[in-house]
């Protein structure tokens, strides 16, 4: 089907095209809810069965980085919404600025995630061969606080008494940690790609009050990815923190 201006050939009006694109993205997001939902179900079953291991696992995550990332991502949702608004009111320069801000914040998020993953690798907490929850407490690394390390050691030993299979069950926690945050990060990388495409279009002045559907539609996707993180953060980072 051929395109005349912004209107693709299978549509009669720009209004129909916009309505269609928007509905298409919402229906796609439904599939994403069920896609992530399968992992949330796996999480639920495993957490209720192995709460001790999940608690220990969660406590090895850095809450400052996690909360910080949450703030960064929510901020990126704000800048994304502002990008849509800028297009709607015809402020073309602001569109580019807000899109670039969104991309920047998203990149910060991914960078922090990379730092966290590296830390897990160093502490032998990547599931598979070599996974060992007792490794870090018995192998201090530069920069570790000795008091915190001693607390961690005590926690792991207590947990072991409670649950002799703590390494197996802890591995389940970390499999879910990497699986869920990894899938989330993959979606953010795809989102970053979409943002780059939008930024190119915004430099060319493509997005106007009459035609800003791509910005809105990518925005819907970006907000959804933010919502997934809004659930991931407490479920992965904040288990048994009051101990």
């Amino acid at each position: 089907m051929h395109r005349t201006g912004d209107l693709y050939g299978q549509f009669e009006t720009l209004e129909q095209q916009k309505e269609t694109a928007s509905l298409g993205m919402w229906v796609f997001l439904v599939t994403e809810v069920l896609f992530f939902g399968g992992m949330f179900l796996t999480y639920t079953i495993n957490r209720s069965a192995f709460s001790t291991a999940f608690g220990i696992g969660s406590n090895t995550l850095d809450i400052t980085l996690g909360a910080g990332n949450t703030v960064v991502l929510i901020m990126s949702s704000l800048t994304m919404a502002m990008a849509v608004w800028s297009a709607q009111v015809g402020k073309k320069k602001l569109v580019s600025i807000f899109l670039i801000a969104t991309l920047g914040l998203g990149t910060v998020f991914l960078g922090v995630k990379g730092v966290e993953y590296k830390q897990k690798f160093d502490h032998h907490l990547i599931p598979g061969h070599g996974f060992d929850m007792k490794y870090h407490p018995t192998h201090p690394m530069p920069g570790d606080d000795p008091k915190e390390l001693a607390l961690e050691k005590k926690e792991v030993e207590e947990a072991l008494a409670h649950d002799p299979d703590i390494n197996f069950h802890g591995q389940l926690y970390f499999s879910l940690y990497f699986g869920m945050t990894g899938l989330h990060a993959l979606h953010m990388i795809i989102g970053a790609g979409l943002l780059i495409w939008l930024i190119k279009g915004s430099f060319a002045g493509r997005f106007t009050p009459q035609y800003n559907t791509p910005v809105e539609v990518v925005g819907l996707y970006w907000h959804f990815v933010d919502i997934v993180w809004i659930y991931l953060f407490p479920l992965l980072y904040l288990i048994d923190r009051h101990r």
Binding site: E19, L23, S77
Partner: protein
Amino acid sequence: MSEHIVSPKIYFAIFASLMLGTGITVWAAFQNFGKLNIVIALVIATIKATLVVLYFMHARYSPKRTQLVIICSIFWLAIMLGMTLSDYDTRPHEMQPGVTRLEPPAAPQAFTA
């Protein structure tokens, strides 16, 4: 369909609420509310998610059809979670995952990719 343009004031107000929610979530995690800890965390997360859906994603100003799509996705997720959990919740204790302890194999006989 005339487009409803949401004002930046609302966006910033929602952003502030989301920041507040994040702060409360972290604070609450460090208090001992027992079984309620997870409930509080999920309730706050759901409020935050609802704000994002309604205002950032413009669901409040979208046609009824969009709202139906959103509700369906939540409903189907609830079916999947609820009915599966109903199996686990009504199983006898020894059938719960991890209860009947199996000796792990001494040398893994598993397939290596």
